[in-house]
Symmetry: C2
Subunit: 331 residues, 2 copies
């Protein structure tokens, strides 16, 4: 087994394994769940990785901790800068707190209140911006002109990507313990940090697993970019309930990995996202946020054909404001 391709980008299966060792006892080892009603609907076996049960309700702590734990003492003292719609912000804030770093997070004004509250409660500073008129990378650049801080990008950093990849390593280990091999792995995809990390480790430990991505309508530029062979940009002026994965473009670091390793992509409508959240409520008894429900929606809508296969899916986050959740339940 060789990791030669991804290694040229500084990302490797070995790096994912090292991240898993760093996260031991720090991240929750989320269980691998199965639900008979979902299996019946799919006509196949669906293994559910509920990162909703991860610390602060999304997989983002994995990458953030893996990044910040590798900073020097001086770098941690100088502080960590990140931008995020919310889940990565919480992951960075928590990892910073645990590791004695001061975190500053650039968040959109319209990020779910629950996410901003949690970030503040963890002791991080928040700088808000208008998602439709301002560029968060410009804001970050201005801050970095004045202060020497370490960046914890939401996907474009090898240590972030390798941290997120630990999710797929756990799924593979738990599936192997059940004597099951994975035909496919469907991942909720925004900028591609989770996808490229998972694809990197799966290439090493389970090369027969076909990696697919699910994206929301209007923000399905990752699969479109893979097909086009170049990074396309979504029109970020469009509103979406899938705030967690409403990224403009796949990352410069994550794109070549996805291009090489992702086998297919599906686009999920808002109605399908809502139906998946209601299904998760009713049958899985799990609270899933819109962006975290697109892989489940891919199965339920049969846009990904899981019939006769063993397919793992990510439920990548569960941070959804109660008013929105209540509204979706009652429609």
């Amino acid at each position: 087994m060789t990791d030669s391709h991804s290694e040229t980008l500084g990302i490797s299966a070995e790096g994912v394994r090292a991240a898993a060792a760093r996260l031991q006892g720090k991240a929750v080892r989320t269980p691998l769940l199965e639900n008979e009603i979902l299996n019946q609907r799919a006509g196949g076996r669906i293994l559910i990785k509920p990162e909703t049960l991860q610390r602060y309700g999304s997989f983002k702590f994995r990458g953030a901790y893996n990044r910040i734990s590798q900073l020097s003492d001086e770098e941690r003292r100088n502080g960590v800068l990140a931008w995020s719609s919310g889940n990565h912000a919480q992951g960075v804030a928590l990892a910073s707190k645990l590791l004695g770093a001061k975190a500053t997070i650039i968040m959109p004004e319209d990020a779910p209140a629950i996410k901003a509250q949690n970030v503040r409660a963890l002791g991080a500073d928040i700088i808000t911006y208008d998602r439709y008129t301002e560029d968060r990378e410009d804001i970050a650049a201005k801050i970095l002109r004045d202060r020497d801080m370490a960046l914890a990008p939401s996907f474009d950093h090898p240590h972030i990507v390798e941290g997120q990849g630990t999710l797929a390593l756990e799924v593979h280990e738990d599936a192997s313990a059940m004597d099951v091999s994975l035909d496919a792995f469907v991942i909720c995809c925004g900028g591609g940090g989770l996808t490229s990390g998972c694809a990197t480790i799966l290439e090493s430990v389970s090369p027969g697993t076909s990696v697919w991505i699910a994206e929301p309508e209007g923000y399905d530029e990752a699969w479109a970019s893979i097909k086009a062979g170049e990074r396309l940009k979504a029109d970020v002026s469009k509103p979406t309930i899938c705030d967690a994965i409403a990224t403009a473009s796949p990352g410069w670091l994550t794109f070549p990995i996805m291009q090489r390793l992702v086998r297919g992509g599906v686009t999920i409508t808002e109605q399908e996202v809502r139906e998946a959240m209601v299904f998760a409520y009713q049958h899985l008894k799990l609270v899933v946020e819109p962006g975290g429900a697109v892989a489940l929606a891919a199965i339920l809508s049969q846009k990904f054909d899981a019939a006769g296969k063993v397919t793992a899916i990510t439920l990548s986050g569960g941070n959804v404001d109660p008013a929105l959740f209540a509204k979706i339940l009652q429609n």
Copy 2:
């Protein structure tokens, strides 16, 4: 280790172990979860057993399968009769379907719609009654006068009790694998099937664990009965959102076990139940029904003092109608 006390009632730790073997590969081995925000609130370590993730969203499948799998072929052909507000009904309907028995369930008219729907979808017949004016045991007696059916009571049967006890055996095993011993175990209590089964196995495998029960206001007759030394009756005319555990009285079979092994009880108000459900939504990302949230409410309200202890709690079910859940989220 002796099981002499409970054995006089036909219930033993060995019976719980045999039930665990029967349930292997049939019931979901639900995970043992931990949440840092809950631990902080409690000032101790809380191990969460989410039976919301069990088949059909509550622990009830455990006892039902353990009972029905021990019937003879002839008994299964003659059919199984049960009465239940809903969760036990679903457990019996599913176990009957898996084991080739025809189930008939007596359910109150005002049982949550989601529970009745699931029971019908599993192929069971439903007979409805008015919870405030009719006695479900009278209805059952009338049916049994005409037809020879096997009863699957919601708690008063040794095989039901032993099946429910497998929950505590799993908690003990998973805690032991984490090198943790349980100071206390707080259980959502209705008729006492889950409590007496769990207390029986804990007495054998973890005698230092103190068993407590949590009950809703107005239906807190189990702990009152234990204190009084006789089975008291709740006024079942009072409305409650905790439908799953709104039992009139502890069982004749479960009461002596609880009397001997339960160390304390707390009464939970409706407001505390609602707050626990919101906490589970917000921080655990789990959908918990009112009756399944009373043990969590015991921790959050500090009516059970978990400070400095390792305490396991049950989240015993997650079947709650979306309209009620939405209403509770928005209050």
